[in-house]
């Protein structure tokens, strides 16, 4: 049973990673990256790693997308 969950989680992560890379606009990538972080958290839970899942959730859904958006805003604002 857990095998099925793992296969689904791994496939979702592979598809999610491809989607993040194939999104061209960086501001959309911030959103996709946040979603990819949640998919990774689910995979880490399925792999019986709660510490790692907590770490990925805290970092990948709040910290990194926020910084990507701030960087994009600064780069755009500085140029206009």
């Amino acid at each position: 049973m857990n095998d099925i969950v793992l296969i689904i989680a791994l496939t979702l992560v592979a598809v999610g990673g491809t989607t993040v890379v194939m999104t061209n606009a960086p501001e959309r990538q911030a959103v996709t990256l946040g979603l990819y972080g949640v998919l990774l958290t689910l995979l880490f839970f399925a792999l019986k790693a709660p510490d790692v899942a907590l770490s990925q959730l805290a970092v990948g859904t709040a910290f990194v997308p926020l910084m990507v958006m701030l960087a994009i805003r600064r780069i755009r604002g500085g140029r206009s």
Partner: protein
């Protein structure tokens, strides 16, 4: 090199990497096997030192020196980002007021009021119980730092600036890093090896157990939360204050 040459080079290199990786992966123990020699050694060692969360024991007790290296990388990155993002002379002169806050929705503000103390308490809990339940200094530190920024989400940038003075957090980060180093030297003085577990670690599953792991968790929690706040402060300053726009 133009794009086509770059693609060609990548596909050649990528194909080689894929072949080597597949060859190596097929030679590894199959997924889900029972052959884990490190686990057979690490779990009894963690239990012998009274730590219920084996992952925390590995991070702060058995391989505490590696965690010292990791937090030094963290410290260095915060310094590097602060140095890169410091305002240049022209930017400092054009720091116009960042205007008044756009109206925040009442529901957002209410959610901020409710969630801010809750997040801070949960962050402290995650740091303090790192040796008993999943958690620890790194995770709890990030939760604390993003909790502080709920003031910005539910309020305005001015409110955040009043609540968080960056100097305090810079000093706090240094205190955390020095605390980790200092405890290591205490281990050297008492037990003869750097970062040895010298605080008494009797009891298993109690709040006061696991010796060094608790105190190092606190040191790392202070350092990571202060570091994340400082880093976000520099990014926010660049994106909001120095942009020259009128939004907050």
């Amino acid at each position: 090199m133009n794009r086509n040459a770059r693609y060609l080079l990548f596909f050649a290199g990528g194909a080689l990497v894929a072949v080597l990786f597949a060859w190596a992966a097929l030679g590894m123990p199959s997924f889900g096997s029972t052959f884990h020699p490190y686990r057979d050694l690490a779990v009894p060692a963690a239990v012998a030192h009274g730590t219920a969360n084996v992952v925390s024991a590995i991070n702060f007790d058995q391989r505490a020196f590696d965690t010292l290296g990791e937090e030094t990388i963290f410290f260095g990155s915060v310094i590097g980002a602060a140095a890169l993002l410091r305002p240049s002379k022209e930017e400092r002169e054009q720091t116009s007021g960042h205007g008044h806050a756009k109206q925040v929705m009442a529901s957002t503000r209410f959610a901020g009021y409710v969630l801010l103390p809750l997040t801070l308490v949960v962050g402290f809990d995650v740091v303090a119980h790192g040796h008993l339940t999943p958690g620890g200094g790194f995770q709890g530190g990030v939760v604390l730092a993003t909790g502080v920024h709920l003031v910005y989400v539910a309020g305005s940038y001015d409110a955040l600036e009043r609540v968080r003075s960056v100097h305090v957090y810079e000093y706090a980060e240094v205190v955390g890093a020095l605390g980790y180093l200092g405890l290591g030297f205490a281990g050297l003085a008492i037990a003869g090896s750097y970062l040895a577990n010298v605080i008494p670690y009797s009891g298993f599953g109690q709040l006061v157990s696991a010796g060094n792991v608790e105190v190092l968790n606190f040191a790392v929690g202070i350092e990571v939360s202060a570091g994340v706040v400082v880093m976000l402060a520099h990014f926010l300053e660049q994106a909001i204050v120095l942009r020259g726009g009128a939004e907050a």
